[in-house]
């Protein structure tokens, strides 16, 4: 589904962050990327979505066999990649319902049936125990950490992408947030879609069936293993990889 | 002769008289007197035919060049019943300029070419008239304490031309009896990622008449810059006249600018709290006002001078 080959990328201000990263995600898999601060975890998700703050210096990103390096962010989203944000931006005056409708219309080839859309949205809200009036609030404005997280997961379920990249670097210590995310992934996951979880805390993985764990250090994946690798890192830290 | 001073960079409706200050004045010619100095070298000479964009400088003036290194330098002018028209050029690291005296006539322009911080303290009093024009051509912090006498006119002008540089102007003013204060402060942003701020704290009592004009001006090309402007004034009498015109001009999309003005009487809850601890009303008020002033006074690199200013403010209140 997603293939990344020998990827080098830097921030717009010049500092090289990813230095020859390789990664392959197949349909139906859950991958976890772990790594210490500054290893390039957040950069990776931003580069996949082509955030203009970053620049690919060399290497390729393929999604369903199509090169997506140079696509605009919204075109990548339309292909079926979703990224959750650590700190979702507050957009004043824009209601969640209005925003979701616009987004769903944008990524769908056909015009979305409003009735179906609303039914689906209400179902998802039920599953996440979100109150009805929540979608009349302004997008992320004044949200608590937990509410922001729920809103991201609600968007994930509603937009229903092929690949979800969940940047959970910050939520390692918040137990409620962890529950929301792992519950959300289980609701989302089926045999046809894939998930990448970016974290440095193994707690989030407890209720999930993880296929691969990758260790990202200094802009490169230096070890890949199964879920036991996450446990090992939780116990021993990254020190043995940092040399 | 009538002088029109402190013109605003953009004019607005004239019905509230904020655009400029009209004053009938006899400009007194330059008289030479030595500055008291510490830690600085100065050159002084009298020159003719100086052209000045702002301020009141006449054709003949005292020219003062100030140099120093890393220590705090002092330039002090003490002139009871005396007068001074001067142009002070600052090439120093940390400089304090003090004006003192009763019934003084002070007409000065201060041009800052190089400095880390410059503190200008106007302690003239009674019938004194002061005209202080400050031009900042570098990245220094300027602190201006305007206590002055009967008429106090001041302006600050700075355009930030260098990328990534910072310009800060802090000022405290006090007006009482029937004193006239006219303040016109301007910062222009002329390059990328610059920062500038105008912070003004004031107090007015009796029949004082104050006009504050502050301008934050983002030029085209000042991307990534941020500027803020704040005037906070406490009004202690219902006979004061307090005018404010805090302008925010913007010709660039990628900037952040804020300005805020707040005026009003002293916070009654604070007053009640202090009085419940045994302070008199007057002591409490002075304490509250000084607490507003403190964050600016803290920038003055000389504790003794700071205490002298606090004493002077308390005395005048």
């Amino acid at each position: 589904m997603l293939v990344i080959k020998n990827l080098y990328a830097k921030a717009k201000d010049g500092k090289e962050i990813l230095k020859g990263l390789d990664l392959e995600i197949k349909k139906g898999e859950i991958h976890v990327i772990m790594g210490p601060n500054g290893s390039g975890k957040s950069t990776l998700s931003n580069v996949i979505l082509n955030n203009p703050k970053y620049e690919i210096t060399s290497g390729e990103i393929y999604f369903e066999n199509e090169l997506i390096n140079n696509l605009k962010t919204n075109e990548i989203a339309k292909k079926g990649i979703f990224m959750s944000f650590q700190t979702p931006v507050e957009v004043e005056g824009v209601k969640i319902s209005e925003f979701l409708k616009t987004a769903k219309n944008s990524i769908s080839d056909e015009r979305v049936n409003l009735f179906k859309f609303i039914t689906n949205l209400e179902e998802n809200m039920d599953k996440l125990s979100i109150k009805k009036d929540f979608i009349n609030r302004e997008l992320n404005v004044g949200f608590s950490g937990g509410e922001k997280k729920k809103n991201e997961i609600l968007q994930l379920l509603t937009l229903n992408p092929k690949l979800a990249i969940l940047d959970e670097t910050d939520s390692g210590l918040d137990i409620d947030a962890i529950k929301v995310v792992s519950n959300g992934i289980n609701l989302f996951k089926n045999e046809n879609n894939s998930v990448i979880i970016i974290t440095h805390n193994a707690k989030i993985l407890e209720n999930l069936k993880v296929d691969y764990v990758h260790v990202l250090v200094n802009g490169k994946i230096i070890k890949t293993g199964d879920s036991s690798l996450a446990k090992e890192i939780e116990e021993n830290g990254y020190s043995k990889y940092l040399k | 002769m009538e002088y029109i001073l402190n013109k605003t960079p953009i004019r607005t409706t004239n019905n509230f008289k904020v655009n400029d200050l009209k004053l009938d004045l006899d400009i007194i010619k330059t008289k030479f007197k030595d500055f008291k100095t510490k830690n600085v070298n100065i050159n002084t000479r009298i020159e003719n035919n100086f052209e000045s964009k702002i301020g009141l400088l006449e054709d003949k003036y005292l020219f003062v060049d100030v140099f120093n290194n890393n220590e705090v330098g002092y330039l002090e002018y003490d002139f009871d019943n005396d007068y001074l028209t001067s142009l002070i050029n600052v090439n120093a690291s940390n400089l304090i300029i003090i004006f003192k005296g009763d019934n003084a006539f002070l007409n000065t322009k201060i041009v800052i070419n190089k400095a880390k911080s410059v503190s200008i303290v106007n302690l003239t009093s009674k019938d004194s008239k002061s005209f202080i024009s400050i031009e900042n051509n570098t990245n220094s912090i300027v602190n201006f304490i305007e206590l002055g006498g009967k008429i106090k006119v001041s302006n600050y002008y700075s355009v930030i031309n260098e990328e990534n540089s910072i310009n800060t102007f802090n000022s405290i003013y006090l007006g009482k009896e029937d004193e006239v204060l006219d303040l016109n402060y301007y910062i222009g942003f002329n390059n990328k990622n610059t920062k500038g701020s105008i912070n003004v704290e004031g107090v007015l009592l009796d029949n004082a008449h104050k006009s504050f004009k502050g301008t934050i001006d983002f030029y085209e090309g000042s991307k990534g810059s941020s500027g803020d402007e704040l005037e906070n004034v406490v009004l202690l009498s219902d006979k004061v006249i307090s005018r404010s015109l805090p302008m925010l001009l913007c010709h660039e999309e990628d900037v952040s600018g804020t300005h805020a003005v707040s005026k009003g009487k002293i916070d009654e809850e604070k007053l009640f709290y202090l009085m419940s601890r045994g302070l008199s009303e007057k002591e409490s008020k002075i304490m509250i006002i000084l607490s507003n002033f403190n964050k600016i006074l803290d920038n003055i690199p000389d504790i003794n001078l700071k205490n002298e200013i606090i004493n002077e403010i308390s005395k005048r209140l």
Partner: protein, 462 residues
Amino acid sequence: MKTRIELDDNIYNKKVKEESVSKIVGLTKEIVEEISKEKDEPKWVLDIRLKALDYFNKLPMPNWGPDLSMLNLDEISTYVKRGINTSDKWEDVPEEIKNVFDKLGIPEAEKKSLAGVGAQFDSEMVYHKVQDDLKKQGVIYCNFDTAIKEYPDLVKEYFTKAVPIMDHKFIALHYALFSGGSFVYIPKGVHLDNPLQSYFRLNSKGAGQFEHTLIIVEEDSYLEFIEGCSAPGYNTLNLHAGCVELFVKKNALLRFSTIENWSKNMLNLNTKKAYVDENGKIEWIMGSFGSKISMLYPMSILEDNAKCEMTQLSFAGKGQNLDTGLKVVCNGKNTSTVVNSKSISKDGGICTFRSNVLVNKKASNSKLSLSCESLMLDSISRSDTIPSCTILNDDTIFSHEAKIGKISDDTIFYLMSRGLSEEEAKSIIVRGFAEPISKVFPVEYAVEMNRLINMELEGTIG
């Protein structure tokens, strides 16, 4: 764009064939006398016109604000008469004019939700209607010219009392040439559940419009009044120098909403003033989209416990200079003023917020809070905030905040990561920015406003 409400953009450009129109170019005493004669006015009205003409000739052009030097008063036909009398039957309105108003949805709107509608075409009021039950309660809503004839005592008592004829050059011009406009009288204790609405439209090329609106809301009454203004796109400069005088009596509330979408060749120099008596309240709601230059600063004069609220949105595009704001004079104690202004500039458009606040000595315990936010969509545009404030007592609480915002790259990236195009993302952000203002507008205007915002943003992003 899928979220956009599809409407026919061209309805604002419908021009009616110009015919049977006697245009008078330039301004002399004779012209003023002729206008008065044609209207068959009493002498006291003519006297006001002539005195005003005198002031107009004497008063200087404003020496601040937008540059008005392109204005040549000799070239502007100052009065356009279409030989139409005001009607209260929609069927009597000439077909061509009706078509324009039909397109603009005026009669439909009336049927739906309005208590009364007035429509002014160029200088004359063509249609005025107020529901019968309101008439029975003593509500008057008619053409201002009619009011002079039918309610002379009321008009005499209030006319020119809020806005004096020598206030400034363009108000003097207005009083010399005023024609049409609305007169509204709400008697004591009448609460209008539905708004009254006036629609102004300039149709003739190079025409000026000098309508006078006078509204009196007596004690304990409530009125919502909506003004809509538009003109088709001619190339000649048009001038609009209207005047609005509002009297809000004790415990009364007046909500005055204006949507201006003049064509981009209009000089809109409008003067509005409200006297608010004890415990009364004025609510100004203003949306400015059109015109080449606007200078508009509604003034509120507040007595004891009176309140003023203003909600304002300006959107300046290419070639537009929208200089708007307000004036407030606090005369009585315990007054309260809350101002919320937002502006959007793009393509070299200039938005200026200009305010003048005066708190008099008697106005103790006054509270004023002003907040301005501007959004710049590019760096060739301008956005200036020029607030002046004079306080003459010691227990006023005044605060003014201003903020320049831009559309942050992070926000655009966030929205694009959810599938929105850059254009859609910008448009949704701008509409969100305008949301707190557009939500206080009547619903059909809010829809219209979103449409205007989308129209303005269309094609601006590469």
